[in-house]
């Protein structure tokens, strides 16, 4: 079987008609988170089963809105004004012509439409309409399948038990437990094998035996001359024939199912708690790193603040060295001025400038008391000259004072500049050391944060706050489980006792001598029936073991293909998946595996079922997987991608795991070539706004669903 085409119109985030064509072999559809990856698979489920996996459970699609929210946004005027909107999905398959000749393939078209009518801002579901058509191989004409045939055709082409493992790989993981009895898993085994026929035969034969037993008991009771003991035996047998089936068919299976539920829940809690412990541990590490970083930041700041005075009172002059050096010109200028001054010294015995000024004012020499005749007199000029000499001396002193200050200023500034150069460099070094330490802490913190992110995206996890709650829930379930197991033990014990008692009673009852031929013949025929039931049971057991061996073999070969060097062996026994160390043969506790290993093991088991379904049912189902490698490292994703195509006629992977790697054009080319070489295809989706511009993921913008649509930006098909 091959899915040739998936066509969506007005479905969820796909607004106008979007078409994906697939080939055989490997097909990859690249879609980031929130870009509608799962919606492709939802649309297939809607058409085939009207069931959609939504919010962790399968839901009837009638309860869900499928139209694009784009229609509800008044900003998208043209769409908002539409009174009627039709959501339409068409699947085109190449599959066996089960309506005419199962040996031949034909082309099947499954088209489902949902009609909506607008009421205010909302679109209301009016009705759904499914049409199945196929090409008649003989006439080449399209034939519309009658409504009464639709159920049969769907069930034959896509058996219900297998469907969820085929279409919705991501959720199939939830349906298959590795550690406990699993109903879904066993349902698949029943679907793809012939041993259920033996089971049915056993049931039928067992019923016949009981019927015969009852008839014989009736005949015996009707006989005359029965002792009290014989009557009681017959009464007791009647009682046991009611009790045993009640235990076997109702009480024990119900209790077993209750126990399974408890065990599954406990396993979930254990996973949860394991992750929580890891989460809390990593969270603590991050908090420690953050505190260290805060501490360093604080110490940087405190250190810098302690140097603020230094910064503004000394370091501020950094870079001014050339200006300080240029100041020499002004020093030289004063030096020059000083040189110009007549350095004639005034003798000490000469009167001071004030006395000379007095003598000029009084026109009289106060030393010899002689008068100065007039201003032309030689003595008057002598006094004036003397006064000038005094003035020059004062100027010289002033200049010298400034000269000294200037020189000191320059020298101080220069030496301070050299000192601060050194201290600024030391300061920088100290800060850089602290920053280096901070960077190291930051990158260590990043590593922990990535780990935390991995934990929160890869599984259910919780913060420490919920830890206690889940721990007590787990304890409560464990306590209940112990009680349930005790009860089960009791019931099984009773069953075994009743069966033994019945056997004894039968022997005793059969030992009654009777002349009644009907009774004797009946007893004889019962023995044959019992031999037949035992043989059928043996056949059923053998067939089941054979099938489990086949699944074991296939699962291991797929696991080796999907996971590089796994070192683990898978074994299917009594409907359970068990794991063993390849080298030591020791059983491995599943809880000790990493998430990627667990998922790949499940993937291998599920795909071995699909693979076997091809052989057992003659219908090669394609593998259509949603994000199968989301928990794997790139090495394993690559290994898986390179090998998965070899095992199925068609594989379609919807994934985000190639997007980042495709930033390297070589990797992208290799992946495209890998798909095309097998006959497959390569697609790329993008979310855009009404102007066709790429928009962020819906998680970043909750309104984006009404403002954006998913489009196919790249489609390469061989």
């Amino acid at each position: 079987m091959k899915l040739n085409k998936l066509k969506l119109k007005n479905y969820s985030c796909f607004l106008d008609a979007v078409e994906l064509n697939f080939g055989k072999g490997l097909n990859i559809v690249n879609a980031g988170n929130g870009y509608g990856k799962s919606k492709f698979l939802d649309s297939i489920n809607w058409v085939i089963s009207n069931q959609i996996f939504h919010g962790d459970v399968w839901k009837n699609a009638d309860e869900l809105d499928l139209y694009p929210l784009w229609y509800t946004n008044p900003d998208n005027k043209q769409y908002y004004e539409e009174k009627e909107v039709i959501t339409e999905v068409t699947l085109e398959f190449t599959a066996p012509d089960i309506d005419n000749n199962i040996e031949k393939n034909t082309v099947w078209y499954f088209t489902k439409k949902r009609y909506h009518k607008r009421e205010g801002t909302k679109l209301n579901r009016n009705r759904d309409e499914l049409t199945i058509k196929y090409i008649n191989n003989e006439t080449g004409e399209q034939v519309i399948l009658g409504k009464h045939r639709e159920f049969d055709v769907i069930e034959t082409l896509f058996p219900k038990a297998l469907r969820k493992f085929m279409w919705f790989q991501g959720e199939a993981f939830k349906e298959i437990s590795l550690s406990h009895d699993n109903k879904e898993f066993n349902k698949v085994l029943d679907t793809i094998s012939h041993y259920p026929i033996y089971g049915k035969m056993v049931k039928r034969a067992s019923k016949a035996i009981i019927k015969k037993e009852n008839a014989l008991t009736r005949l015996r009771r009707e006989q005359r001359g029965l002792s009290n003991e014989q009557s009681e035996n017959l009464y007791e047998k009647d009682r046991l024939l009611i009790k045993i089936p009640e235990l076997e068919n109702k009480l024990i299976p119900d209790l077993q199912s209750d126990i399974d539920d408890h065990e599954n829940k406990i396993a979930d809690y254990e996973d949860f708690l394991k992750n929580s412990v890891e989460y809390v541990k990593i969270d603590r590490e991050i908090k420690q790193k953050e505190s260290d970083i805060r501490h360093i930041n604080q110490s940087i700041e405190e250190y810098e603040i302690s140097k603020v005075n230094m910064l503004i009172k000394r370091w501020a002059i950094a870079g001014s060295k050339s200006h300080i050096e240029s100041f020499q010109e002004k020093i030289d200028y004063i030096q020059n001025e000083l040189n110009k001054i007549d350095n004639t010294k005034i003798p000490l015995h000469i009167p001071g400038p004030e006395m000379v000024q007095d003598m000029i004012d009084d026109m009289k020499c106060h030393i010899c008391d002689r008068e100065i005749p007039d201003e032309d007199h030689e003595s008057y000029h002598a006094l004036l000259k003397r006064l000038e000499v005094f003035k020059e001396g004062k100027k010289e002193r002033w200049l010298r004072k400034n000269f000294d200050i200037f020189k000191r200023m320059k020298s101080n500034a220069l030496s301070t500049h050299s000192e601060i150069e050194e201290s600024i460099k030391n300061h920088k070094k100290k800060i850089q050391e602290k920053i280096r330490k901070r960077n190291k802490l930051n990158s260590e913190k990043d590593v922990f944060q990535d780990k935390l992110k991995g934990l929160s995206t890869s599984s259910n996890t919780t913060t420490g706050e919920n830890y206690d709650l889940y721990f007590s829930k787990k304890q409560e379930k464990e306590k209940n489980l112990r009680n349930l197991k005790l009860r089960l033990g009791g019931l099984k014990n009773n069953l075994s006792k009743y069966k033994n008692k019945l056997k004894e009673l039968n022997e005793e009852i059969r030992s009654f001598q009777t002349d009644n031929n009907d009774i004797n013949l009946g007893e004889e025929s019962l023995k044959y029936f019992e031999v037949l039931v035992d043989s059928l049971k043996k056949l059923e057991q053998d067939a089941k073991e054979n099938l489990e061996n086949e699944i074991t073999h296939k699962s291991n070969s797929l696991f080796n293909i999907y996971y590089d060097n796994p070192g683990i062996k898978i074994k299917i026994k009594n409907g359970n998946v068990k794991l063993f160390d390849k080298s030591t043969d020791d059983e491995i506790d599943i809880r000790n595996l990493n998430k990627s290993q667990k998922e790949m093991i499940k993937f291998s088991v599920i795909n071995s079922l699909l693979k076997l379904s091809n052989e057992k049912l003659g219908n090669s189902l394609p593998l259509i997987a949603d994000a199968p490698t989301s928990s794997s490292e790139w090495t394993n994703t690559k290994y898986f991608t390179e090998n998965v195509g070899d095992n199925f006629d068609q594989v379609i992977l919807f994934s985000k795991d190639y997007i980042e790697q495709c930033e390297d054009p070589n990797v992208k080319t290799q992946l495209i070539n890998l798909c095309l070489k097998q006959g497959g295809s390569w697609h790329w989706t993008q979310k855009v706004d009404k102007n066709g511009n790429s928009v962020g993921r819906k998680f970043d913008n909750p309104k984006s669903d009404s403002e954006s649509k998913t489009v196919i930006t790249e489609s390469i098909l061989k």
Partner: protein, 163 residues
């Protein structure tokens, strides 16, 4: 004939400044008019902002042409010296004197106008530096908008001047 040294005359006259220096004072000091709540207001006094502005203007070669000085009742270089930043004030004077053309030292500096002219050189660098800082903060990128909000920026600026 002047008795006082030229430097002590200069030291005692008040420095004038304009609106840009005023805004910078509000931005990076803890004095009155603390406008920018995000800024660290790292310095304690007006003179610190003035000093920072002056050396920014000097190193970035941003000297404002002589503006109208809105703020005249201010502080002197002596205040800066008494704050323990003598060398800083000295360098300011040296820069101003370098740019001042002396014809007759005695006559030139006996006039108030010459002293004011000299001090204006200092004020023009401070105003230019402050304006430059405020312009950076009006830039569009995030780093610009928070320039000098963090003490690291001051140290980085100083370190860069030596590189």
């Amino acid at each position: 004939m002047m008795e006082e040294s030229l430097i002590s005359i200069i030291d005692n006259k008040k420095l004038y400044y304009g609106t840009s220096v005023r805004s910078l004072i509000e931005l990076i000091t803890r004095v009155q008019g603390k406008v920018d709540l995000d800024a660290q207001n790292i310095f304690g006094k007006h003179i610190h902002a003035f000093t920072w502005a002056f050396f920014t203007g000097l190193n970035r070669n941003k000297k404002e042409k002589k503006p109208e000085w809105e703020y005249k009742d201010t502080f002197s270089l002596g205040t800066i010296k008494r704050d323990g930043a003598e060398v800083v004030a000295d360098v300011m004077i040296m820069v101003a004197l370098n740019e001042f053309e002396i014809n007759n030292i005695e006559e030139d500096f006996s006039k108030n106008s010459s002293i004011r002219e000299l001090l204006n050189i200092i004020s023009c660098y401070a105003e230019g530096g402050a304006k430059y800082i405020l312009e950076i903060r009006e830039g569009n990128d995030l780093n610009s908008k928070t320039y000098l909000n963090n003490i690291d920026d001051f140290y980085e600026e100083i370190t860069n001047r030596l590189d």
